[in-house]
Structures are given as C-alpha cells and as structure tokens.
C-alpha cells in the first residue's frame, strides 16, 4: 500500500485504481520475445551484419579467414611510390620542356651505347639469330613478335592458375 498523500475525497478513486486488473498480452508473447533475443538466437544476432565493419568470412565451416595485416614496409613503400609519382607528375606538368630537353640530349649522346646494350641484352635472352630476324622487319618477324606476346600472356595466366590451385589446396 502506498503512502496516503492525497485528499480524503480521492480515497475511493485511489482504491479503485489499485483494483484495476492487469491485462494480458496474447498467447505466445514470451515465445515471440525469446525468438528475438540475440544471446539465445545467434542467427538473430548475425542478421544485421551489413552494419558491421569488420566481417570475418566463413568458408564451408572452415576457420575464419583473418584480415591481412598491412606491414610497415608495405605502407612505407606505397607512400614512397605515391610521393615519387606525384613528384614526376608535377615535374612533367610544370617542367615538360626541361624533361624533354634532358631526354633528347641523353638520347642523342648515348644513342649508340643504348642500342648496343639493348642488342646485347636481346641476344642474351632470345639469341643472336632471333635478334637478326627481328631487325630484318620481315613478316616472319611480326609473327615472332605475336608468338612472344601470346607466350608471355599464357605464361602469366599459367602462373596465376597454379598459385590459385596451391592456395586452395593449402586451405
């Protein structure tokens, strides 16, 4: 019984208020509430996953794949590359004439040396006969260029596939 802190004429109303019956929700109310409690229904807790920032990916019941850690060297390298690219960009934008002049001077002065070095490197990799063939500019040379390009792309694709298979087996 609560403290009597009202006028006498309110007493019958207070008594009636105290006699007001409790009303019941419909049957199954508790079950409906329980079905929405995260702790008891982990699937409910997982439902609004769209809002979570760091999701762990499940793969066929295997252990979750951890987020790859970004190393300090990687960060520093990316930053350095970014700075270099911005610098070169700025230089090219602002001093394109100077760059052209330097490159032209270098090319004219060392043209013979560059050509000789390229030929040496080419001969080492492809063989002197192939280089001679390419320098001839014949139709066969064009075919050879195409074969080299297809070979390079095919090799790259092969390496990627092999790496992917190896990763899957390791998992």
């Amino acid at each position: 019984m609560i403290e009597h802190d009202f006028d006498e004429d309110f007493t019958p109303i207070a008594a009636e208020l105290q006699r007001l019956p409790y009303l019941s929700p419909s049957r199954g109310f508790a079950d409906r509430v329980i079905s929405r409690i995260d702790k008891l229904n982990p699937s409910v807790a997982l439902a609004p996953v769209a809002g979570k920032r760091h999701l762990e990916l499940e793969q066929g019941g295997q252990a979750p794949i951890r987020r790859r850690k970004v190393g300090i060297v990687r960060v520093a390298g990316t930053a350095a590359l970014g700075v270099a690219l911005v610098t070169v960009g700025a230089f090219m934008f602002m001093g394109i004439d100077i760059l052209t002049a330097i490159l032209a001077a270098g090319a004219s002065q060392y043209a013979l040396v560059i050509a000789a070095m390229s030929a040496e490197a080419g001969a080492l990799v492809l063989g002197s006969e192939t280089i001679g063939y390419l320098q001839a500019g014949a139709l066969e040379a064009v075919l050879l260029y195409l074969t080299l390009a297809v070979g390079l792309l095919g090799g790259y694709a092969g390496i990627r596939t092999a790496a992917s298979i190896a990763r899957r087996k390791a998992a």
């Binding site: 009636e16 208020l17 105290q18 007001l20 409790y22 419909s26 109310f29 509430v33 929405r36």
Partner: protein, 198 residues
C-alpha cells in the same frame, strides 16, 4: 548452479542467470512483468495490437541489453522506464488523442470496438457487485483515458504499481517536482471526470 524454480528468487538474481544466457531466466523475467508492462502500455495507447507491439519492443530492448543492467536499481524500474520511453515516443509519432472506453481510435465497426475495448476482470463478486465493479472500473479506465499521456503514466505508476515519487521521476525522466505536479493534476482531473460521469 541454476535453480530448479525461480519462484523465490529476486529479480536481481534472475537477471544474473539471464546474463549467463539461461533461457528459463529470460522467460521468468517475461512471466513476472509481461502483464504489468502490457497493462501500463495499453492504458496509455488503448489499442491491443499496438500495445502488444510496444510491449514486445520493450522486452526485446531490455533483454538484449541485460548485460548493461545495474543491480543498484530495481529491474522493474528499468523495465518500466524503457516501456514508458517507447510508449511516449510512439504517442508523439502518432499523436494519438485520448479516446473512449468503447475502443481504440481505429475501431469503427461494432466488432472492432468490442475487440479493442478494455475487459475488466471479475474479482469473484456477486453479479450485482460485479456489474457495479465493472461500471466503476470502466469509469476509472475512461477517466484515465482522458488524461494526458504523461499524467497517465505517472498516475498508473503511483497508484497501480505503487512506485514512490522518486522512482517515478527516475522512470519517466522528469524532475521530482514535475512528477508531483503531474500526479496532483491527474488526481484532480480524475476526480472531475468521475464527477461528470455520475
């Protein structure tokens, strides 16, 4: 060690078991408070379906945050506080007006009015006493329905749930003085409404 029965266990202890993830503890908290919470909400919104939705929302919110419960407060106060907030928010959104004891505002047919009207339970009296009790009970319900929602919450918490002024102030998040004023005015208005009905 979980108990065989929760009957003699305090709310705080049941909450501890619920915090450990025991479903029977959650069910016990719902069993203890589904009727008081539903009744409070119903007397504020006067619509069965809406009351059920709001009561469900209240329990889901409270039980999903059971780990945040602070045992220095009464569990029931926390529960009523959430119920009151959810209901007041709903009323503000819908701007529901006070309505008649005959049924919810949405009730337009006789059947829907009967379905949404308040059913006053019998207290084992004689048919005449029961009729009088039903009439008086219905009059009180009607008078409560005419109060402002804030007054309704305060007067129900004070006279139906037996809360102190301090606890009501905590539940409805209003200054103590405002709560006292609301209850005083609610009593005055109830008296006037019931005089009119005589």
């Amino acid at each position: 060690m979980p108990p065989k029965s929760y009957t003699d266990i305090s709310d705080q202890q049941v909450v501890v078991f619920a915090q450990e993830g025991r479903e029977d503890a959650y069910r016990e908290l719902i069993r203890r408070y589904e009727r008081p919470v539903y009744s409070l909400i119903y007397r504020m919104v006067r619509d069965n379906e809406t009351s059920e939705d709001l009561a469900q929302e209240t329990f889901i919110k409270v039980l999903n945050n059971i780990d945040r419960y602070r045992p220095e407060f009464k569990f029931s106060s926390w529960l009523f506080k959430i119920a009151n907030n959810i209901t007041i928010d709903h009323l503000r959104r819908r701007q529901l007006d006070t309505i008649s004891i005959e049924g919810a505002p949405s009730a337009v047919t006789g059947e829907s009015m009967r379905a949404t009207a308040i059913a006053v339970a019998s207290g084992g009296e004689s048919p005449l006493e029961e009729l009088e009790s039903r009439e008086l009970g219905a009059s009180i319900e009607e008078a409560i329905a005419k109060l402002r929602p804030e007054y309704r919450a305060c007067i129900i918490l004070r006279h139906v749930e037996d809360y102190s002024y301090d606890e009501i102030a905590e539940i409805v998040k209003l200054p103590l003085g405002t709560v006292k004023t609301y209850i005083h005015r609610a009593r005055q208005e109830l008296r006037e409404h019931l005089e009119d009905l005589k």
